[in-house]
């Protein structure tokens, strides 16, 4: 405790209950805690109020309650250049990007970490549900104790160097316990609803939001046999495996999105309770990051997640010469979606991950998945 007072920890505070409790716990452990709110997106609501204002107000209230200084920092430009531009480009390419992975990589654990260090911080802390294990000067990323909230999926692009400067004070807690701690201490955010959806879109209609930035090009919906079934509003509005909102219901089995052809602007759909065409047995991932790179072999078995909050599946990973990976599934997987992250685990250790680029079946690329 006494020694901690000379250790400055900057806590990234969003105005939510998780980062509030993270700051509280660090304060209780005696650290020199500084709360900082990141403003990444410039937006005003119907009343002309900057949407970040309410969140910052909550940061102020909590920081005053736990008696730590608070500040804000603006990363709108960095966010636009590094996260939002990528987000739009991926949609334009017919993929389903994961901006949270990119935000962690480029903003929270890069620009924001640099900012924290410029303030003399020894560590950056966030309210993520993940754990860091230090052993003999090496750092590993472990799943959060709360299996349901584990956020290592979004942290797969962090490096060991970054982990050495990071703290996740909530990693050993369950979400319920975090709420309970917040209530016990009467924190202003104790009962605040968790934010949902992508941070910059907030509660708004996703389709409407996207259409403000990308022109929607309606086109045909076809089966894989090229039978025209209907029209789509623009490929970017659909994701692989999607069932709702296709406008082609009616009698019989449901319809699913199974693929996209960006060049010809065709959305592929198939009917059935669980169409075979949604299944695949492998993938190629690019932008691969290994957290402890030197410990990775050329070929190894592990488990993987292809979406957030999905159960792990057993896979065999082949690291290719260019650093990309080929991932072969031990059992067929449903609705593997290009643009999403594939994240690898060895037990509780998060090994790293990459971006799903191609989907394979019987060693061939599934062309219709796009």
């Amino acid at each position: 405790m006494e020694a901690n007072k000379n250790i400055r920890v900057v806590v990234g505070m969003s105005g939510g209950v998780d980062s509030s409790v993270a700051a509280l716990l660090l304060k209780q452990q005696g650290y020199d805690v500084v709360g900082i709110f990141m403003k990444n997106w410039d937006d005003t609501d119907d009343r002309g109020v900057c949407t970040a204002t309410e969140d910052y107000e909550d940061v102020i209230r909590v920081c005053n309650q736990i008696d730590i200084p608070y500040y804000a920092v603006n990363f709108e430009k960095e966010y636009w250049d590094k996260v939002f531009t990528y987000f739009l480009e991926e949609y334009q390419a017919g993929r389903t990007p994961n901006p949270d992975v990119m935000c962690n990589k480029e903003i929270k654990f890069k620009a924001f970490l640099d900012h924290a260090l410029s303030l003399g911080a020894d560590y950056l802390a966030t309210g993520h549900y993940a754990q860091i294990r230090e052993e003999n000067g090496r750092f590993q990323l472990l799943r959060g104790k709360d299996a349901n909230k584990d956020q290592t999926y979004f942290l797969n692009q962090l490096s060991e160097d970054v982990l050495a400067k990071v703290m996740f004070p909530l990693g050993h807690l369950e979400k319920d316990e975090v709420r309970e701690i917040a209530r016990e201490h009467g924190l202003a955010t104790a009962n605040k609803k968790d934010s949902t959806g992508i941070c910059f879109i907030g509660e708004r209609n996703f389709k409407e939001f996207l259409s403000e930035y990308l022109p929607a090009q309606p086109g045909e919906m076809r089966t894989l046999e090229n039978e025209k079934i209907g029209m789509h509003d623009g490929l970017m509005y659909y994701t692989i495996g999607q069932r709702q909102g296709l406008g082609i219901g009616g009698p019989g089995a449901p319809w699913f999105v199974v693929g996209k052809n960006v060049e010809e602007n065709i959305l592929y759909v198939e009917q059935g309770h669980d169409p075979k065409s949604l299944y695949s047995d492998g993938l190629i991932a690019t932008q691969v990051n290994w957290i402890n790179e030197d410990l990775i072999q050329d070929t190894f078995e592990c488990t993987a997640k292809f979406r957030y909050r999905q159960k792990d599946s057993r896979v065999t990973v082949h690291v290719l010469a260019n650093g990309d990976v080929q991932v072969l599934f031990h059992e067929q997987e449903r609705a593997i979606t290009p643009g999403q992250a594939v994240v690898f685990y060895d037990g509780d250790i998060c090994l790293g991950g990459g971006t799903i680029d191609k989907v394979l079946k019987n060693d061939e690329e599934l062309k219709y998945v796009g």
């Binding site: 400055r8 403003k39 910052y56 200084p69 500040y71 920092v73 303030l119």
Partner: protein, 419 residues
């Protein structure tokens, strides 16, 4: 009624003063240093934002609040007592700017005074014209009142600001039309401290129908202001910028100025500002005005010394910096400094963490620091000075030793951030 035993009162009061002495400018707290824990002094260099309350102001207010609670509008003895305090204070305000008592309207502060000056006169004089002239570097209390008037059908000209920090009287001359009913130019800019050509503007408007309003919130106590000599029709003052209490200020409006109230209610302030007067605030402001007026020369010299020591120490440390605006045109209490290669948010946070309180531009409601509209007006959008400048402002309770210490800390941070 509420009584405090004289002895107990004195005890508490002395305690209050003791604590106050600690609070003003040098609140002590522990920080961590490379050598271990050291005693750190917090140094307040943000006197343009607000000022510590003067001991005498506090004493006066405490006594008034303890002694008088009547409503100045009441016709009984309690009311009369409160009213007499109000009258006395009004005389002091009037004398401080060479106005007469009828010309002083108490307001809740500078913002209300500016709003009342612009909106109140525009609405009352719209049959004479619908054109208003102000500048791009005014305080938001003026700028946003002008924007509101634009929505109400008035035409507003925003005069440009030059890199020296001043507007040009020539530009003003060219903008004046027969339709112009009001010119609002601040006496001293709150971010740069640059004194505006108020005298020339007053001269120019002598023969014009337009009223001349000046926001003197930063100037009061720094410059001698004679509204008659300077031909000023409306002038705003705030108490908390001159070591007085928050929540009180006044608008001077010359007797012949037509002005509408913005609020509806009682007949206080000659119907120009309804609402029961903030008697303790007014009396506190009176004390602050008396002190500011009596000690103006010493304060200017003192601030000059503080500023000089601060800048000299920065130079001794070879800190790379430029002063925004023409140094010769600035009041002694403010200096706005551009530090090439630094980022305002990081700098201000670092300064605060090292115990130096300063500021920059205006924070957005979500806390992040936006480029200052004043520096944008002076240097143009995108100029690096708009994102690397810090305002330091000086006043009561600071010593040359504190300025050396503050400059040392600034220098350490700059070196850390730019290396």
């Amino acid at each position: 009624m509420f009584f405090i035993q004289p002895l107990r009162f004195r005890f508490y009061f002395n305690k209050v003063l003791e604590n106050l002495a600690v609070l003003i400018n040098h609140e002590k707290r522990f920080i961590n240093d490379e050598e271990g824990t050291v005693f750190m002094e917090e140094i307040y260099l943000d006197h343009a934002a607000t000022t510590p309350i003067h001991e005498k102001v506090l004493t006066t207010m405490y006594q008034i609040m303890n002694d008088t609670f009547g409503n100045p509008s009441s016709i009984h003895s309690f009311g009369r007592k409160a009213r007499s305090y109000l009258d006395q204070a009004r005389r002091v305000m009037a004398e401080s700017i060479n106005a007469n008592e009828k010309e002083i309207i108490f307001t809740s502060g500078g913002t209300e005074a500016d709003n009342l000056a612009l909106i109140g006169t525009a609405m009352a004089n719209k049959d004479k014209g619908k054109h208003i002239i102000t500048s791009a570097q005014e305080h938001h209390a003026t700028l946003y009142a002008a924007k509101y008037l634009e929505k109400q059908g008035f035409k507003v000209t925003y005069l440009p600001v030059y890199p020296n920090g001043q507007i040009s009287v020539d530009d003003l001359k060219k903008s004046l039309t027969d339709d112009t009913i009001l010119v609002s130019i601040m006496t001293v800019n709150n971010e740069t401290g640059i004194i505006q050509p108020i005298e020339e503007i007053g001269d120019l408007l002598k023969e014009h129908q337009a009223y001349f309003h000046t926001d003197a919130v930063q100037a009061f106590g720094q410059l001698a202001i004679d509204v008659k000599k300077l031909n000023i029709d409306l002038l705003s003052v705030s108490a908390h910028k001159i070591n007085g209490p928050k929540g009180i200020g006044f608008l001077y409006a010359a007797e012949d100025v037509l002005i509408n109230a913005l609020q509806y209610g009682g007949e206080q302030e000659r119907k120009r500002r309804p609402g029961t007067e903030n008697v303790a605030g007014v009396v506190g402001m009176q004390a602050a005005v008396e002190i500011a007026t009596a000690s103006r020369h010493e304060r200017i010299e003192e601030n000059q010394r503080l500023k000089a020591v601060f800048l000299q120490t920065l130079r001794e440390h070879d800190v790379n910096f430029m002063i925004n605006g023409d140094e010769e045109l600035a009041v002694s209490s403010i200096v706005n400094i551009s530090f090439p290669g630094i980022n305002v948010e990081s700098m201000l946070t670092n300064l605060d963490l090292s115990g130096v309180a300063a500021s920059s531009g205006s924070a957005c409601t979500a806390g992040s620091v936006e480029p200052s509209h004043v520096l944008v007006a002076m240097y143009g959008e995108g100029n690096e000075r708009t994102t690397n400048s810090i305002r330091f402002s000086f006043g009561l309770g600071l010593t040359p030793e504190m300025m050396v210490e503050a400059a040392n800390r600034v220098s350490n941070i700059i070196k850390r951030l730019t290396n």
